[in-house]
Each structure stands twice: as structure tokens, then as C-alpha cells.
Symmetry: C2
Subunit: 338 residues, 2 copies
């Protein structure tokens, strides 16, 4: 087994930084998306007013649960038995309290102080269509309050990997916080991991993301549409030829085509877990990152990291919601076997 | 564009060496395969007696056409406009005359002298099931008469690539001929390409094939089950990690998952052509090799080689039979674009 990473004695686990969001899910048909002018399978930022309007139009059968991309990843790592902390801003309101309680209960360290005033805790209104795709409308609310002061140098130094979500680039203060986190991580000898989050997010920040990939990110997570958008290539293979020169490790997910992991001269092609009945793809990328990063900090080879990512992703797409519903720990042994 | 190959002034095109076989196809259901104890989707060698019995049991609606794995590849290269010769042994009988006339008409140079006595021209009885899989029963007949004398040093020296089919290892004399061809190719500064042909063929010759891959083959073609069988790994990714150290170029086909091309540090992941209605997979690997090798000798980059292979494979699986039915030349421009 090629060990990808040896654990420094003074470092342990992952620090994840992201938007602290409560998900509100409902099943709708495609007509609902058209009627409300939504971009299917993508995340759109909305303001408080539109959040109210969409919420009111959603079917009564709504499911509420803690979410947020990097927070989902943190939850997955904790459920795999890994050490993980989360940094993200909620408001001191009912949703904020629920978010904090949920994430701590799973075993994620979380002590970002809630905002005492300003916009409410963020929520993501997720419409799940019969094809299992999820269309997300995010009101960022209190997330916009994240500032560089929320980045604790000691917490950064204590982790092997700092994991960031691309969505943070939608907010100027959070972006500053991210730049601080990346700088501190490298100064402390850690690795910076980041997900590109969403193809439209890549479009909004392409030049900055390209710069980050070339200069700041060690471990990149992206799906096919995100990496193709980043490099504006005609296909996946074209993007592959760029990214392999830019980061130490790229873990590129391709839905039912599995994932491709590139690390210098090494390449691994990991098949998707076969026979999964896809109910809701929400959280697939987040849980892939959870499995991969947990394997990475445990020193698994990249094949096993990818396998663990695939297994965790397969769990989360087999039911509604972005947080796993079964014990993930048996996946560790399974990933190491195959 | 990374050019993979620059054409030496004194060399041109491909020399393909393989079994000269006439295909006899019929549509059957799965019950027919079970009734006759056939391994679905694989090639089985049969004797003259069993060939007679299966032929008699096959439905009356049979299609007869020239085939043979390397011969199909040669036909594809000729149809793409490439220079190509074929070496293979037929008998001077009706089927042998038909094979020779067919392959020459397509534009393949073919001057192996037909056997004047001994077994009849080889035939492959191909049963196509409703799932588009083909199950092959091959009576090798006159093919067994190929000897090292059929390998012409001048023809080898004139080609950029000598292409061999793994099936040839099923015959002791042909195997000697192949060893001579590989030696002469390298002495003349050419490249040796070979397909592993079939997972059961790999099983029959695993140790020898492993040695060939490590020491004699420059460009390897294999599908997923063949490469996994060669290295006896649990999955495709495991096999990938072995083969990349063993050959200059590995072009690994994966049916609807497309193909993966490895060349030292380079990797290309080529998607299958989308939206193809699969009628009969006979010849898919042969035509992939045709497209790839034509691109290779023309100096295309590996992405374009793989794309051309995929386009040619897509054509041949969209109808019954292992030889293309439309003009392949427009695929060249298409492969270079995408």
C-alpha cells in the first residue's frame, strides 16, 4: 500500500470551514422548477424575500435537517470515527440552535460563536425532482457574518487538513477568512483541501478559482461539470490534462461513472458503487469528500480513499437528505479490502 | 497537440497479423447458448465436428462475412484511409477465396499464400443474443498453418506498427511466427502492438502474456475483463497500476464506460460515444484498435487516437457484423476536433 500521508504527531484530523445552513427539503415535479425559474440541479443564491416566497410555495411535506456542504463533510468524517472540527456562522435563533446541537451530537467539534444580531441563520430550500436531482435555493443569512476573526490559528495548526467549500467565495468577508485559513494552514505544515462546489459557483469565480487551484490548493474536489467549467474545456479529459499539473491530489467525481483520482504520476479510476438505487443526490459530493479525506488523514492509499468516498456517497444518495442515516464505520474495512 | 509519434521517412502504416476467419452470424436467444454449453460473450475454440454441429443447429437466417480480429482492425484502418497490410492463412477453398477477395477490395494489402491442402478456411460461428452480446465458436482450420515463413522481414520493416492478436497464441506455429514478427519489428525500429483478445484467451496464456506485456509489447489493447484477468486483480483500478509500468501505451476499453489510455505519466479518459443504440458488439475492440492505430501512425495526440477508436467502435456496434458499413473517414476530423 502506498501511504499518501504520514500523520505528524502534533496534528490530527480535518478542520472544515463552510456555510452553516439548515436544509429544508421537499419533493416536487419539474413543473415547479420551471414555474419558479430555477436552474435544475444547481445552487442559486436568493435573498430573504425570495426565500419566503419559495418556502411558502413548497409542498407542506417538508423535511428540515442540518446541512451545508462542508458541514455535511464534517458530519461524515465524524461518523467514520475521524477527528473533525467545523467553522461556520449561525445566528442565535431557533434554526441556529438546531444546527449547533445537530452537528455537535454527531461528534463534530463546533464552537464558532453565533451572531447576536443581523440576518437569520442560513437556509437552503431544496427541491428534489423524481429523477433524484436536487435544485437548491440558498439564503445565506448569518453566513455572511463570517470574518477572518473566526479562523483560529490554533485550530488550524491542530488539523492535518483544512477543508474549504467554494461556496464561501460568494461572500467577501468569508473569502478573506478563507485566504487567512489557507495561509495559516500552509504555515503550520498542513494541507489545504477545497471543493469547487457547483458549476455556476465556478462561473461566478472562475479566475479566482483558477488561481487558487494553481497556487493555494493541495487537494481539490470537483465534479465533472465543475472541472470542465473551471478550464472551459470541451470534455472531461481536456480538464484532466490541466488539473493534474496544478494540485497534488485531484479527486474528480463523475456520478455513475465513478471518480478519477490524480496525484502526480499516479492515477486511480474508481467505479461507482454498483446497484445503488438513487433517491436524492443531495450531499453526494460532500460525503465523497468525507470518505476521501478520512482515508487521507488515516494514511490510506488513494485507491482506498476513493473507495471510501464512493461508499459514503452511495449511502447518502440512497435516501432523502445530505446526512448519512446508517453507521458508516463498516465502510472503512470495505474500502481497504477492495 | 502532443504528437505521439513522428513518421520515419521509410515506414508507413500498420502490418496486422491474425487469424483469417470467415464469420457466420445468426441471432439466437439465451436458451440456445445454454443448450449448447457456450460461454456467453466469449470466444471458444471448437473442432471441425463441433463446427458442423453448431452450424447445423443455427437458425437458417445466417449472415456470412469476412472477419477475424486483426483482419477487422486492418479493414478499419484501410477504411480510414490508412496504409495497412494483413498476414493470415486461408485454404484455397471457397471461403478462403471469399476472404481474400473481401479484404483486398477494402484496400488491405494481403498476399499470404493460401494453403494448398490440410484443414479448410477458418470460420467463426457467432451467436448474437438480444442483449447485443456475441458468443463466438471458432474453428481455426487453415489458420493453424501459419508459420514463421509467412512473416516477411521487408513487410515488417516497411510498417510503423506491427499489430498482433492474442488469439494467435492458441496455435504453436503461429506463436513462433509472432515471436519472429516482434523481434523483426524492434530490429527495424517499429512498434509492436497487441490485443489480449479475450479474457479466456488470457487465462489460457496468462504467464506468457504477462511476459509479453513486460518485455515485448509497446502498445497494448485490452478490455476491462482481459486486463483484470491478466493481473488477477479485484478491479480495473488494480490492473491499471500494473500495466502502466509495463508498456509505453495501454489503451484499455470499458464498453459503455469508454476507454482509458495510459502512456507513462499521461492518462486520458475517453468517454464512449453517447446515444449509440447497441445492436451487436462484435468487432468493437477490433475497430477501437483500428481507429486508435490509424491516429497513432498519423501522429495524432493520444486523446484524438482514443476518440477515433471510440467513434469507429460506435459505428461497428450499431449494426450486425464486425466490419464497418459506413464511410469512416469523416471520423478523423471529428476525432481531431473533440
Amino acid at each position: 500500500m502506498t501511504v499518501t500521508n504520514s500523520t505528524p504527531a502534533d496534528k490530527r484530523g480535518v478542520l472544515a470551514i463552510g456555510n452553516a445552513i439548515v436544509d429544508v427539503l421537499a419533493q416536487v415535479d419539474d413543473g415547479f422548477l420551471q414555474q419558479h425559474g430555477m436552474n435544475k440541479a444547481h445552487m442559486t443564491l436568493i435573498d430573504a424575500e425570495r426565500a419566503e416566497a419559495i418556502y411558502a410555495a413548497m409542498p407542506a411535506a417538508k423535511v428540515r435537517m442540518s446541512g451545508g456542504s462542508a458541514a455535511n463533510t464534517a458530519a461524515g468524517i465524524a461518523m467514520l470515527g475521524g477527528a473533525v472540527r467545523f467553522v461556520g456562522r449561525v445566528r442565535n435563533d431557533e434554526l441556529g440552535d438546531a444546527f449547533s446541537a445537530d452537528i455537535r451530537k454527531i461528534g463534530v467539534g463546533f464552537d464558532t460563536s453565533p451572531a447576536q444580531d443581523g440576518p437569520a441563520t442560513a437556509r437552503c430550500l431544496i427541491l428534489v425532482t423524481p429523477d433524484a436531482q436536487r435544485t437548491m435555493n440558498t439564503y445565506l443569512g448569518a453566513c455572511a457574518q463570517m470574518t477572518p476573526e473566526d479562523i483560529d490559528p490554533a485550530a488550524i495548526a491542530a488539523a492535518q487538513v483544512t477543508y474549504l467549500e467554494g461556496y464561501l467565495w460568494d461572500q467577501p468577508h468569508a473569502k478573506e477568512a478563507m485566504r487567512k485559513a489557507m495561509r495559516l494552514t500552509h504555515e503550520a505544515g498542513g494541507k489545504v483541501a477545497m471543493t469547487l462546489s457547483d458549476a455556476f459557483c465556478v462561473e461566478r469565480h472562475r479566475a479566482e478559482f483558477q488561481h487558487l487551484v494553481e497556487h493555494n490548493i493541495d487537494i481539490l474536489f470537483a465534479n465533472e461539470s465543475e472541472i470542465v467549467s473551471l478550464y472551459q474545456t470541451s470534455d472531461f479529459d481536456g480538464a484532466l490534462q490541466h488539473v493534474r499539473d496544478h494540485v497534488d491530489v485531484a479527486a474528480l467525481t463523475r456520478s455513475e461513472k465513478g471518480s478519477v483520482i490524480l496525484a502526480g504520476q499516479n492515477v486511480h479510476i474508481i467505479d461507482a458503487v454498483p446497484g445503488v438505487s438513487v433517491v436524492d443526490t443531495t450531499g453526494a459530493g460532500d460525503l465523497y469528500a468525507a470518505g476521501f479525506l478520512h482515508g487521507y488523514v488515516e494514511g490510506f492509499d488513494l485507491h482506498a480513499c476513493g473507495r471510501l468516498g464512493s461508499l459514503c456517497a452511495a449511502e447518502v444518495i440512497s435516501h432523502v437528505g445530505a446526512r448519512p442515516q446508517i453507521d458508516l464505520k463498516p465502510f472503512v474495512a470495505q474500502a481497504l479490502k477492495g
